[in-house]
């Protein structure tokens, strides 16, 4: 099975004509890597139902808004849908008249959080939403930060000087004692009460955000009866750093380090997904060697990420030693990544048009050593865990996800595959060298935590296979170019700058004005360890994106958590959360 044709992933002409027949008012907007249908707000629900039921677009991918301050109505809603049978995506755009849109939670439950986010960020209201509260910020926060008229650094109106400040000390050169509004505990209490207006059971337990078991800073509200969770809601935003807002004021290259810090466990995968999207937008073709390096590093990073998952998951379920064994292997991968890119964690190594530096001496030797060594270690972990009766008891039939859930919530990555849905971006839309390597996409049959555990372990095995193939291939292309500097959008390497005036001028231009991408829109995703990481970029021909929407896999995967935990214990919550494997940097962005 190969699906390498570029545009085959977007809705085809046949379906468009079907739509045209039924809805003549629909207008089509076509780009190389995205196709949008414009529809009126009044017939939106009807139209989406038609797409879902008649045309097979039953999987919800993403929803977001875009702010056009000089247009009336001001906000545009963009829906992304996917048809699993035909492997097609479609985007639907609609204008939010009177700043309201109809809620589509009746069609896709997965839209609940996305709509909350749109309310939070843009102030667009949704009619029919069950509890439209702030997603990331707190209830009494007066602004909607992703609007174009809101400044990136916020409104600094609170006097909040440093506690360490002494008269004789100058704290740092860009220090101001004024700060944006920091909530008080009362504000948080209000947020909490808004999420769960009335408790139905005995006690409401706050689980997280600063809790060792919540994998970051997710704030859970468990309405519990004894140990059993009857109702649950999740408050996100404890790591909301405004990455999407930052993207609007940074050039395409400058944004690369920020993609690291979104999903900090799989930094390289995020970079590759982002850079691929930008390259498609700018029409840059990276050299072959860069593609192979990217694939190899991506897979190493995937192993790295899954190892962290395995370690913390085992730690959550009490197997303390596995945690440290996994970290031992992670250290090796960190060593490799540090040696190649220079930083252990947030490597910012991928560049538009290639990679930042060539592979150093000895890198392939080390990687080969790792490839040889790692399966043995993995086998050890499997011996301790896979058939351990405690492990089986804790995992089997916990948090079972059905195929319908996958489509309803837009689950991706391992979570979707555990339910038997073969949704893997590496397979349906291969980028880089994924169409040239040989690997299996493991699928689960039941969809419980145990399946997800097995799947991740199997994925590690497949990844190590890919790494081996890449290393072998890269061995043969030692002398090749690693970045396509001949392209006008690609920054020249240092050597070129030192030696030629043209390169220096190009460097100056690109640094100062940014890569001035042609006007257009693109939605491109990559297979992150945590699911589909999609980048929806709107370019208005400037050096920075007009709007950059990040479709985060973990965000949507986490959304099913309240549904699955109902009627289960807190102990299961740990297992379930671990197996969904969210990373807060990505969910909150």
């Amino acid at each position: 099975m190969q699906f390498s044709q570029e545009n085959s992933l977007w809705i085809n002409q046949e379906k468009i004509s079907k739509i045209k027949e039924k809805y003549p008012s629909v207008s089509i907007e076509k780009y190389d890597n995205a196709t949008f249908l414009h529809i009126d707000k009044s017939s939106l629900i009807d139209f989406l139902t038609f797409l879902k039921e008649n045309l097979g677009f039953k999987m919800f991918i993403d929803f977001t808004c875009v702010d056009y301050p000089f247009h009336n109505p001001r906000f545009q809603g963009v829906y992304f849908l996917y048809s699993p049978e035909d492997r097609q995506r479609v985007g639907v755009k609609t204008w939010a008249t009177d700043n309201t849109l109809p809620s589509i939670t009746s069609l896709w439950k997965g839209a609940k959080w996305a709509e909350r986010e749109a309310w939070d960020m843009f102030g667009v209201k949704f009619e029919g939403h069950e509890n439209l509260v702030r997603m990331f910020l707190w209830e009494s926060y007066p602004y909607h930060p992703l609007r174009k008229d809101f400044p990136l650094e916020g409104i600094q109106d609170t006097y909040l000087p440093s506690k360490n400040l002494r008269p004789e000390e100058n704290p740092a050169h860009n220090y101001t004692p004024y700060h944006t509004y920091v909530p008080t505990l009362e504000d948080l209490e209000e947020t909490q009460k808004a999420r769960m207006p009335n408790k139905s059971s005995q006690i409401v337990l706050n689980w997280g955000p600063l809790h060792p078991g919540t994998h970051g800073t997710i704030w859970f509200l468990f309405d519990m009866e004894g140990e059993y969770v009857k109702e649950c809601d999740i408050i996100l935003g404890q790591l909301h750093r405004g990455v999407e807002k930052i993207a609007e004021s940074r050039t395409y290259t400058q944004f690369i380090p920020y993609t690291d810090r979104m999903d900090y466990i799989s930094a390289l995968c995020s970079q590759v997904a982002y850079v691929n999207a930008v390259e498609k937008l700018l029409n840059v073709e990276p050299p072959e060697k860069a593609k192979w390096i990217r694939t190899m590093l991506c897979e190493l990073q995937r192993i790295n990420s899954h190892l962290l998952w395995l370690g913390t998951y085992a730690l959550d379920l009490g197997a303390l030693t596995i945690f440290l064994y996994c970290f031992r292997e992670r250290e090796k991968i960190m060593d490799i990544i540090e040696g190649i890119s220079g930083i252990r964690l947030n490597s910012s190594y991928i560049r538009i048009g290639g990679v930042a530096k060539d592979l150093p001496e000895g890198a392939l030797d080390v990687i080969k050593h790792f490839v040889k060594d790692f399966p043995k270690k993995l086998q050890e972990y499997e011996t301790i865990l896979t058939t351990n009766r405690v492990w089986l008891k804790r995992n089997i039939n916990v948090g079972t996800i059905s195929e319908e859930d996958v489509y309803q919530y837009g689950l991706t990555g391992v979570v979707a595959r555990s339910a038997g849905v073969p949704y893997d971006i590496r397979m349906i839309q291969p980028t880089d060298a994924y169409d040239k390597v040989d690997f299996d996409v493991p699928l689960g049959k039941v969809g419980d935590c145990y399946d997800r555990y097995l799947l991740r372990v199997e994925e590690m095995k497949q990844s190590i296979k890919i790494v081996a193939q890449c290393a072998e291939k890269l061995e043969k292309m030692k002398e090749d170019k690693y970045i396509a500097t001949e392209n006008p959008y690609v920054l020249p390497t240092l050597d070129e700058v030192f030696n030629s005036i043209e390169a220096m001028v190009k460097d100056f231009n690109l640094r100062i004005y940014g890569e001035q991408a042609p006007e257009g829109e693109i939605y491109l995703s990559g297979e992150n360890p945590r699911g589909e990481l999609g980048f929806y970029i709107i370019s208005k021909g400037e050096g920075h994106p007009y709007r950059l929407r990040i479709r985060s896999g973990a965000f949507y995967n986490l959304q099913i958590f309240p549904e699955l935990i109902k009627g289960r214990t807190v102990a299961d919550a740990v297992a379930l959360l671990g197996s969904l494997d969210p990373v807060v940097g990505e969910t909150d962005r």
């Binding site: 990331f136 707190w138 400040l165 955000p209 992670r330």
Partner: protein, 179 residues
């Protein structure tokens, strides 16, 4: 905690012994916020092993001595962090790990706290994004040094500011009673 609470005059030797105990048994609250938390976990893991220095991570702030603020502190977390800091028993210290928590780092945005020292007093800043485990360990050692200096009754100003660090050389000898 900056050196503003000098808890009276006790016998110097006693104070010295207590200070030795405190600096050799720093239990951090395991509160990870973002990327730095991963490196913090790596510091605790086998390769760098904070347990060597008597550092074990505790889940509850009630039992911890040092708060390692690892990661971006956004405005929403700030009151929580303040609460956790208050809930820790004295004597307590704060290490601000990484640029984000020290000064806001690369996120000068509407939602990020521009430096955790606006909420709680910070003892040691560890720059880096994220700092490597070795950098964090160095930070912890700086804190140990500070506790030692404090025992000697030195006020904060007198604690020497380090020279510009250049080469990092391994220490040659181990002191038998910890450092």
């Amino acid at each position: 905690m900056a050196i503003k609470h000098n808890s009276g005059i006790i016998l110097t030797t006693v104070e010295e012994v207590l200070s030795w105990g405190r600096r050799n048994s720093l239990w951090p609250a395991s509160i990870g916020l973002a990327c730095c938390a991963i490196e913090m976990m790596h510091t605790a893991a086998s390769r760098f092993d904070t347990d060597r220095l008597g550092i074990i991570f505790r889940g509850s702030p009630r039992q911890s001595d040092v708060l390692i603020v690892a990661g971006t502190v956004v405005n929403k977390v700030a009151p929580m962090l303040k609460l956790i800091y208050d809930q820790m028993p004295d004597p307590k210290w704060v290490i601000s790990m990484g640029g984000c928590s020290s000064v806001g780092g690369p996120f000068p945005t509407y939602s990020t706290l521009q430096g955790v020292d606006r909420i709680i007093p910070v003892d040691v800043y560890v720059p880096g994004c994220p700092p490597t485990p070795q950098a964090l360990l160095w930070g912890i050692m700086q804190l140990q040094k500070k506790i030692k200096e404090k025992k000697e009754g030195k006020v904060w100003d007198e604690i020497p500011v380090r020279e510009v660090p250049t080469a990092s050389q391994p220490l040659l000898e181990k002191s038998p009673f910890g450092f």
